[in-house]
Point group: C2
Chain length 670, copies 2
């Protein structure tokens, strides 16, 4: 590997920042190694980052002032540049693409091609189909996207209206969007970039409906880029997330494609119009779980960015004093400020450990699936869904809090925070809307519960639901309460309790004569709560377990330990009613934990900057005047402001149009 392997930072370190770094009780480098899975992976990440950071094509300096057109142009330019860089440096390892995505804050115009188009063909194509499509896709002779969502339907796949009707005579499928709401809407890159799509349409063979299936459809000419006959394409307009990508709409009007353009690994339509399922379609679930694993990891990274900015800013920003007539203090000295930021730092670390654990389970399941063993699937599916929902929501809240924690300056785009919020809050919606996902988790919980109540033995992640809940928290002393097992017990009890409560609610509504579905709907608030508790139990356990098993020096282990307790107690306090309502915890026990929480904040305080440094985000990618490594906040802010397009002229043209006439008493009369 050539190129620099360590981040470089401009400017001298602000003495206040240096003081913070000097006060850390652990080695930042050891922590970074841990967070990035060892030295090989970390070196590769830094290697790719150094290439990107030194390539002017990827410069993000002006990103706050781009027009939508410029942003789109740049996002495509970057995608294309990335293809060249991949080739030159041979960057084809599985995670390499993700690194560039993160560095570019996801403004990479063609990423759905690599993220969804190619993998769908790999997964659902027959060997012949793969041989036909994958080489040209990998060489970018075609560019694709994944077109599932329609104007009228996202969550409810069965409601998709686009049809693919088999015409046996012609051996073709006729694709048609019969209504306004049937048009595809949202696919990334569809607006102006793609030549092909994976189209999800309702398969109809011989008049019979077979539900949604995947078809490869060419939508633009490979010569002129004009839409093909029967195809209407366009941009859906601006969005607060992924605006640079050019999400598009697509109407197919009796578009014909060859029969073999249906992806046929798990379902085929023979030339003479016979529909066969083949293999086990459950085998495809794995990839959905993989995507959610990646989102959990992304949630960690996105919170990491925000806390890096807000924490570094908070040691430079001085505002008010604590002691009467004392000097102004860095705002991070305020307990309320620590309360805003440290739970976010803890979540960054928590979700890192959780995503590792999820990945392990995913791999185990993948191995099982190869042997057609599906036992792990339901619990893993529920887990990945729940984790996707909780981590994206929590990330959104933390990023928002970081914005608040930076006061007015956090509202400036140059802080980076508004963009982080807008971009990632959309993750609560895409790849499975969070409420809908939690209701799916609830489905798993209720099934598990009734199996348990029917006396079946449950194994795996749901097994604890069969245990008889403890009636009270077995901790009788304040100084014993900082105990991982005891805290995990409390989370377990809460999940058991809320799951049973939701189950009872469901049974009660059915007892009142409601259908199972109606009762489900009338219990859904409680069902979501149970799913939340179940998933959070997993998170807390995975974080504690992970921290207890890392092989690191004592100092590093100690601060990780602190973070895991802080994380767990923070969420107990956020949901305290659910821990005490049935008498499990007492007010006194809660207040022991509260006091520990306050103490833990103080332990983290001198380590805060080192903890965010360890997340290892280069200034070039953080793109925040408030959050840079050197802490030279105010000079950067001023320098950045001076580049504002509105500052190009001392007297703005608007003055001549409106302000001068107003001042001169010459505004147009009505």
């Amino acid at each position: 590997m050539d190129g620099p392997t360590l981040p470089t930072y401009s400017g001298a370190i602000h003495p206040d920042m240096q003081k913070e770094r000097d006060s850390a009780s652990f080695q930042r480098d050891e922590m970074t190694l841990l967070l990035f899975d060892g030295s090989e992976a970390l070196e590769r990440k830094r290697y790719i980052e150094s290439i990107i950071a030194s390539d002017p094509h990827f410069d993000q300096t002006g990103r706050c002032t781009l027009s939508p057109a410029e942003a789109y142009d740049l996002s495509i330019k970057r995608s294309v540049r990335w293809v060249a860089i991949q080739e030159k440096y041979n960057l084809y390892q599985p995670d390499d693409g993700a690194v560039v995505g993160r560095c570019m804050n996801q403004d990479v115009g063609l990423f759905i091609h690599q993220l969804m188009f190619i993998p769908t063909i790999e997964r659902l194509g027959t060997e012949e189909q793969k041989a036909k499509w994958l080489p040209i896709a990998r060489q970018y002779k075609i560019i694709g996207t994944y077109a599932q969502t329609e104007l009228g339907h996202g969550t409810n796949l069965n409601g998709l209206e686009t049809t693919a009707t088999y015409d046996e005579k012609a051996q073709e499928f006729v694709l048609n969007a019969p209504t306004l709401t049937a048009m595809k809407w949202w696919p990334g890159g569809l607006a102006k970039s793609c030549t092909h799509v994976i189209l999800i349409a309702q398969l109809i063979v011989g008049g019979k409906k077979h539900g949604p299936h995947c078809f490869i459809v060419q939508v633009r000419s490979l010569e002129t880029h004009q839409p093909l006959p029967g195809v209407t394409l366009g941009d859906i307009g601006r969005k607060s997330s992924f605006d640079a990508i050019g999400n598009g709409f697509l109407i197919v009007d009796h578009v014909r494609i060859p029969r073999l353009n249906m992806l046929m690994k798990y379902a085929e339509v023979t030339h003479d119009g016979v529909y066969n399922r083949r293999g086990n379609p459950k085998l495809t679930y794995g990839s959905m779980i993989l995507v959610r694993t990646k989102i959990v990891e992304a949630a960690s990274y996105e919170i990491g960015k925000a806390v890096t900015v807000a924490t570094r800013y908070s040691v430079i920003r001085r505002q008010g004093s604590i002691d009467k007539n004392g000097p102004e203090v860095p705002i991070l000295d305020y307990q309320t400020q620590q309360h805003k930021l440290f739970p976010g730092i803890a979540a960054t670390y928590a979700f890192k450990f959780v995503s590792l654990r999820l990945k392990t389970l995913y791999l185990k399941n993948e191995a099982n699936l190869q042997k057609l063993n599906f036992t792990l699937l339901p619990e893993l599916h529920a887990l990945a869904s729940g984790l996707k929902a909780l981590t994206t929501r929590e990330a959104t809240l933390h990023i928002e809090t970081c914005r608040f924690a930076c006061g007015g300056h956090g509202v400036m785009l140059q802080s980076g925070l508004p963009d982080m919020y807008n971009k990632f809050s959309a993750a609560c919606t895409y790849e499975g809307e969070n409420t809908v996902l939690l209701l799916q988790v609830a489905g798993y919980l209720m099934k598990t519960l009734s199996k348990a109540q029917a006396g079946e033995t449950i194994q795996g992640l749901g097994a604890y639901l069969t245990e008889e809940p403890q009636s009270s928290w077995s901790c009788d002393q304040a100084d014993q309460s900082l105990n991982a097992q005891l805290i995990i017990d409390a989370y377990k009890h809460r999940a058991q309790w809320l799951t049973r409560k939701a189950g009872e609610q469901l049974a009660q509504k059915m007892g009142q004569g409601l259908s199972q579905q109606q009762a489900w709907n009338k219990s859904s608030i409680d069902l979501v709560k149970a799913s939340h508790a179940h998933t959070q139990y997993f998170i807390v356990k995975a974080f504690f377990d992970g921290v207890q098993h890392v092989e690191v020096s004592q100092d590093t282990a100690a601060i990780l330990n602190t973070l895991s307790f802080l994380y767990a107690i923070y969420h107990i306090e956020q949901n305290s009613g659910e821990f005490i309502a049935d008498g499990y915890m007492s007010n006194e026990q809660l207040s022991w934990l509260h006091n520990h929480y306050l103490d833990l904040l103080a332990v983290i305080r001198p380590n805060a900057v080192a903890l965010v440094d360890a997340i290892d985000i280069r200034d070039e990618f953080l793109q925040s005047t408030l959050g840079s490594y050197d802490g030279n906040v105010y000079q950067r802010m001023y320098d950045y402001a001076k580049t504002s397009p509105r500052n190009r002229t001392e007297v703005h043209e608007t003055y001549y149009k409106y302000i001068r006439p107003l001042l001169k008493g010459m505004i147009a009369k009505l």
Copy 2:
């Protein structure tokens, strides 16, 4: 009054929307009258709205695709047009300006001139100063802003670094910003629009510092609009809120102004350099309270906009079915969706009642102040601060939830929701940062508590703190628990309990040897909780009281009653730990309330659309394809998308620059 007085809506009403309107159990018009303080005020509001809606200068159709430069230009154009309209239609009543601000979603470039510049002179100027400045300001011969915040200081006013040093010989003040962080940063309209500012600077007379005072400073030539000598001005760059306004920075380098440019009503510097305070500066507090009253009202309106969009969309959007094989249902039929939206509807109404109550108290206090009676001031100041903090935070959460409730389409700028969120979430920061405000409330609470403990009688809003808290909730039956007084009692108890707890925490820390200030900081998380509880107690009480005293038909009263219970129970559930931790409420009692909550959702369901209709926001100002009155969501979305600038050409220029070379295997080698 001429012009249409009723909103007009385009297009035929979607039958699903009509069905919802028909299902309401109350008269929408009666509710609207109530929300807008009777027929006279409502008619005036609608009159102004009809003028604005029919004036093409105020057309907001393309607002999602404006460049920053265009947005600034348009916001100034509108301000100037408003001046003309004011004159023509004689729109100088106190609330007239607020109407146009709301209609234009605050994109009115010069609003600080009317909101802050003129009122500050009115309040702090002597009679001579008012006579000199107000006429030219009102006639827009000068345009001003309010320049307080600096790059380095916002919250801590005493830390402001800009100085105003009196030069007795010249009878002038010398204004100077000695450091980078002393530059003014943030004032609205300062960048490119204003000719004058009210500058807040540290007054120095004869070497002695007298703290922050206000000075009128001309910053640009009235002839050329060029910055005057010694003045550096510019735009601070893009922000997620108020981006169109052109917030600016300002550096004064030994700028001289006449002595009489200091606003001297409450403090003067005589020509021979003697500094005198005069009158009671407490008299100026009233206006700060007034601004916060307006923010509480704005919070109501902003949630109102968001729930209007999300509720209307949710009766048109059909996604999935409840009954097995049943038809797709509007998503508002899902209990989880109701749980997302109805608390927001309730908050819209709650904050309306709260702001009325606050205004009444404000007027009472104003009358007192005229008689130099300051008794109400501390509690009112605490109340207004707390209400500003709680209502802005709650509004931000509800707007965000509305965004989530619209799924992917809520991410589109054409939904209006991202902009509502970004704009109003900044209100958590400006006009007093929320945490800082809540700590001020805590100051009032702790003072009141120690007075009470010293045996003083407390009157007014803090009186309840002197009562002995009840040990348990006096409600023994499920069907009695839906009782306003009982629920108010519960809120009262929680506030008492948390205030005492914070007080004990404070005392304990001091007992451990910490200074009062250090102890304060170490207790600040708990202090904020107490402030939250105190303020929420007021909100709930004001809402219940208000609803119980309105003179409306039974049907309208009934739905208002439902909303007030929903609001109160929702927040009990959100903070349940604080209602049960000390044994006040039992788990069983909580579950009674929970069941009521679920029932209340069902009562609101058929009234939801009418409740948002009653908020009376015209399509022209809502600017949301998802939320328009007629419910023709999908056609509007498609029509809007087609106007996206990226759709101007079928083949985008980016294709020729990057995509074609990529497809043809001709990307630039490295």
